[in-house]
Symmetry: C2
Subunit: 221 residues, 2 copies
């Protein structure tokens, strides 16, 4: 089978949709789908275990460490590696995006909207998420507004991601398994969790401002 | 001259760049550039005058009224009117976007990134900006966090707007006058003002949370 050869001379047909997408130099995945997913799951469980043992605001710190590292490393690699689909070394980060492109071929096709959102996410929200870990752990007064800002950025980015796909025809998935498991499933956490965090932070901030306003009024009397 | 005829049978060449952009049914502007700009300037001055006379936090209320109405009416019209460039009635909102497309033809070409950002801006940030007018005028405790949220959305949208243009080749302006006056100039306020407002709100919120944290510590002692 030509597909299992790794020589650079062989032309490998890519598995992505639309079928006429042109990806010269494409190299298929080396790792299996289950290998790629189990490595990411192990990473997630490790971050969870470490944050659970050592911290107070445990779940939040876990989330910010997990999402910050995902933004910075995984999405940062994508944003600044236009030719990841040509990787022939089996490098894990390239394998992830080759696999994920089965759910959204705009990653392989270098769609401007996707690259923009991933670039902003990696460069701004990645470091800001890791700063949130520090801010929560040390009880900084900017902790809520920082978490609110990053969550809002994640929600805006996810909205741009899905709406541009709809406007461009929503035909970038190899089949419905990849559509629901990767395109919908993998992005779902970044709608639900930032929504919960931003509502919580909004309430905490409004309560603090309200107390301050009342204190001022009392002093004036 | 064929260009001055308004009969629907006549094919009008469009003035936009890239020159091979296909816009069947295009109708040229009826109003002159100076007419379009002076109507928008009159609207801006009227909003400024009304808010200056009646309010306390005058400049902020003016900004939120101006930006809210711009988002809701001007950008809302664009987001939900794919064929504005075919308008043959001289309707003001269509004229604005025909004229602005000389600075960024992605508006006429219905670029997915531009439509997404304008849609989110019109639907979410438009009403939220008008809510900010009310919140500031009545001294609501959510005033700062609301202004912060909308400003961050404006900054994220403007970032997506410019970065996608760069990634797509940055060749959408008829000439350098339109590039600097429309594409750069008209969007510049939505970088500078939301930056100033979001820094101010960040500081106000951090100060309020800090006071609350200290109050709690004092009570515990």
């Amino acid at each position: 089978m030509a597909e299992s050869q790794t020589s650079q001379d062989v032309v490998h047909p890519h598995p992505y949709v639309p079928r006429d997408l042109n990806l010269p130099g494409y190299i298929p995945c080396f790792l299996s789908q289950s290998n790629i997913l189990s490595i990411y799951a192990s990473f997630t469980i490790s971050v969870f275990a470490v944050t659970w043992i050592f911290s107070v605001d445990r779940l939040l710190i876990f989330w910010w460490a997990f999402t910050g590292l995902t933004h910075f490393i995984l999405e940062g690699y994508f944003a600044f590696t236009p030719e990841f689909y040509k990787d022939n070394t089996g490098f894990y980060l390239a394998e992830v995006w080759k696999e994920y492109s089965k759910g959204d071929s705009r990653y392989a096709a270098r769609d401007a909207g996707v690259v923009t959102v991933e670039g902003l996410t990696a460069v701004l929200e990645g470091p800001a998420s890791l700063l949130a870990v520090y801010a929560i752990a040390t009880g900084k007064p900017y902790s809520y507004i920082l978490q609110f800002a990053v969550s809002l950025g994640q929600l805006y980015g996810t909205a741009v991601y899905f709406i541009t796909a709809i406007l461009e025809g929503d035909n970038f998935s190899t089949n419905s398994f990849y559509y629901y498991a990767y395109y919908i499933g993998a992005n779902f956490s970044w709608i639900v969790i930032p929504s919960i965090i931003s509502i919580r932070c909004w309430r905490k901030i409004v309560a603090a401002v309200q107390v301050q306003n009342q204190t001022k009024k009392t002093k004036v009397r």
